[in-house]
Symmetry: D2
Subunit: 312 residues, 4 copies
């Protein structure tokens, strides 16, 4: 498997040169565009690594998976989905029109920015700082990597260029889809996007999500009612990754690759093969839909070689 | 299993009384609202039946699955998806705005009306009549039921009240997404929607789609290049059923049930459990999203009892 | 004044070379792009002419003014505006999204294609042929030019490339905004667009609309209840020309020129200065909004020189 | 004329009881719903008063007229309209979708919230406080009423419930349609909306706008380059009032009344009859489009009695 992964990195390395770094967040546009790495962690804790598997990058939209998980654990499925929809949109991840056109009073789903900001706002905590720390600790816990912390430069850049997200968040409060201090909620959101991880971290977290039931380690997240992550939530999360995980390229990815996955604009993808493995991939240059081109190609090859598609 | 299916019909029979018959097609509004039936056919050809499993109803949108399959077999994946998108929309099945707003020149996906009308237009044949006959024969072949034919009353009603579909079809020709005689293409489309089937037919067809490779019987469909349905097409079809099969309730169904499925406004659902079984369910009253309420409830129970979800 | 008009034709003749003939209707793309003419007819029947004032061109969207007038005379204001809105859209003249997004069941206004097709459908007549003849006779009557007839080539081309209009019309019947035979209604609509006129015809018709009351000549239009055109209808028509007469450039034209006017994609504009004059201008090349560039420039100059703006 | 105005107040007083106070701004929902007043000031400085002509209310959207005027005087027509469009929208005054759907990077026009917030941001001043003071002084100057000041309760309420406007403003900064401190710009915007006036103030300001040229009194507004308001700007403003002054009821009002006018959700309308008079009307209950019902009725009667329509 190590060999397979190395072969696929080599085979697809030319794709890693095509595409562009995102310009919307200046700090991201200055990152090294030449990285290309991958890591697999099976549910039996075997690990396979290739290329720049240990290069760091910010979680960005991949963090939406974990804020959804914590929001579910803090609130229940019923409460979360009374306020956030479940439908893919086929539109840009930061579209605001959908909120207005249908006057739906709920964001479409937890994987687009409006839904993710709402999700973050549902996380419990006795202060905004505590809310973020609980989310960060969940991520540390699932990655089994206590050194995960914020990339300060990315965070500052994120915050500075966040007018579209601010627009979305105030809109959400206007339709009563979120409550509280908008700037503080956004701060958590920018922080979760700025957490620095490696492909190996993504693979570790993915392998936990790949299970049908999972247990967090003791004492790391305050006020978690149960260290056991209910299987139902794991399944919900994987389902959203499948239907909405790659923005308005999700349908295409489902057909070509067929694995629950979540991308971020820093070039990472966390893929989850139910019952089998978690996969972390990194290739910073993005295609026109805002997804890492080479990472998708590698996952497509890997899915075919190992018959990973959940739909056979 | 026969008992399980009977129990679920009984358990959910009160749901079968909630909802409304569609008014958009008058002939459908006159159908018996009290039917509730189900049939399972495994890939090993075991069959289980309950309730009104042998009541007839028109295929309606379920036919979109088969027009897509034949369009793929006649043209190749590349050609079909050069003209039709792969993304779920989160919008009404007959939305026309999406075609205009994004000026995309392609329908969003093959499971909404614009995409399905385009799909139908791609079917080969030396005449419009022949095109429809080839599609009908594919359906007969997959259901292994040569008696399947058009419900004339439904067809007439469909054709008479089809102004929204006409509007969509002329729009499609205007953006060059379809070519040819619009009225003739629509005629095929209305005919495929009007084909009368039973839950057992749906289960038979579903069990064929459930396989990773399938073979049509000899000599029934003219000019099929290969009687073997490529596994790739079977997988593509199941993927679209999963991401877009229940209109703008697809995301919700994926979370709650987790099985590729396609609904129709006559109250039928064909569900496909990869590698295991095809399922046909019927309950004419529809919920607000236009899907059969009791059928969804039954599938939700069945999925839970038998762990059918493709995402575990 | 003759000199002024000639001077303005000369001054703006370089603008008449900029822009493109419309490609949507092939017959129009073959017309002479070098024409530039203007004619003014005052309410006192003085006439001033310059350039290609006697070149012929098809009425196109200018005909929407007259179908609205006849629909009002045949039905009353209340009935027409129960089915058609009064609001400018800021969108393309042939937008269909607006009909769907707001589910308003009425077209936005009588100057965009959906509203104009509805308007045409409201014209009375004992046959579709008779409906068109009544409209044609109104136009002949107001232009005082019995030789006005259809440009057959334009009509054929119009009809052949009319899929967007067909899409709109079937949508309108679907939302019950129009009734009857869609193809027959569209035939009237294409015919009214294909009527051939000159700048002088436009000026004559405009000078009639410029009055606060007007009288049609005897016996030309069957079943007109009253040969007197109510002043209220004249005012309504001029108001729509002011707020919606130049597609999604109407607001800009109102600011720059300030006169009720209606443009057509064959390059004509009919402008109406209340109480003073009608103006016909022709310059086939269109700007990006689909309006004749040089004609707008000439009207802007003329409005400034003669203080024609209704808002001073 | 005094009698006419009194008669019209009486005639339409029953309309003043129909409709609702706005709930979006709580302070406005507590205002007296029973007020109904009107004042006319001719360009010759004759004044006519009736009903609650001296009751105070906040300017709200009527202030958009004055921020546009000052933005024009501070920047020139070219600069303002390079950043703001001129087209009516036919949509809600606070629609955000239009900004996104067409990706136009400019608000539609200066009379809808996005355009008005942009307009306010263009006002010059060496501080945000100074910017507002210059606008306030323009209004004081034109109303010839130095006592005009902010209704503090309305301002606080406005600011507190302003999430939709915040959403719009951050969106505008994101598309680079505005620059600077969003919260500070909004503060000016909320303040201008909260300025308290009477019908007589509106009539005074309207009579100044009614002129084809106007002169501000000395020394009241810092850094105005010229005390003379260019006639062109007066005409531009009146044109926007005509095409966009009553939200998505502007087209209807143009047909029924035919006068440039601007409404506000506190129930006021400032109408301007070019060359003749300014009119202020107040009736707090609003119709479904957010416009004061009785005020519109009174203006409709007045326009008919005195032939005020600019389009005859």
């Amino acid at each position: 498997m190590d060999k397979l992964l190395n072969d696929l990195i080599n085979k697809n390395s030319s794709w890693a040169k095509i595409g562009n770094l995102p310009t919307s967040i200046p700090a991201l546009s200055k990152k090294d565009p030449n990285l290309f790495g991958a890591c697999i962690k099976t549910v039996n804790n075997e690990t396979f690594r290739a290329g720049d598997f240990d290069a760091t990058f910010s979680l960005q939209s991949i963090s939406k998976v974990f804020s959804l998980l914590l929001a579910l654990m803090d609130n229940s499925e019923e409460k979360v989905f009374a306020n956030i929809g479940m439908e893919p949109t086929g539109e840009l991840f930061d579209s605001i029109s959908k909120l207005e056109t249908f006057n739906s009073l709920t964001p479409s789903n937890p994987m687009v920015n409006p839904g993710a900001i709402a999700t973050t706002s549902f996380i419990h905590g006795n202060s905004y700082k505590n809310k973020f720390n609980r989310l960060k600790n969940l991520i540390i816990n699932m990655a089994n990597n206590p050194s995960i912390c914020i990339d300060k430069q990315v965070y500052d850049s994120e915050k500075e260029t966040a007018d579209k997200n601010r627009s979305i968040a105030y809109f959400l409060r206007n339709i009563k889809a979120i409550k509280g201090d908008v700037e503080k909620i956004l701060e958590i959101y920018f922080k979760q996007c700025s957490l620095e991880v490696t492909c190996e971290d993504l693979a570790s977290m993915g392998s936990m999500l790949a299970r049908s039931s999972a247990k967090l380690s003791e004492n790391t997240i305050s006020n978690i009612q149960d260290k056991n992550i209910p299987g139902k939530y794991l399944r919900i999360i994987k389902t959203f990754m499948f239907t909405c995980g790659l923005y308005n390229e999700s349908g295409n990815f489902a057909v070509r690759v067929g694995i629950p996955a979540k991308s971020g604009i820093s070039g990472g993808i966390m893929a989850v093969v139910p019952g089998r493995m978690g996969i972390g991939v990194l290739s910073p240059p993005l295609n026109k839909k805002g997804n890492p081109l080479a990472s998708i190609k590698l996952l497509e090859d890997l899915s075919e070689k190992l018959s990973l598609s959940v739909i056979q």
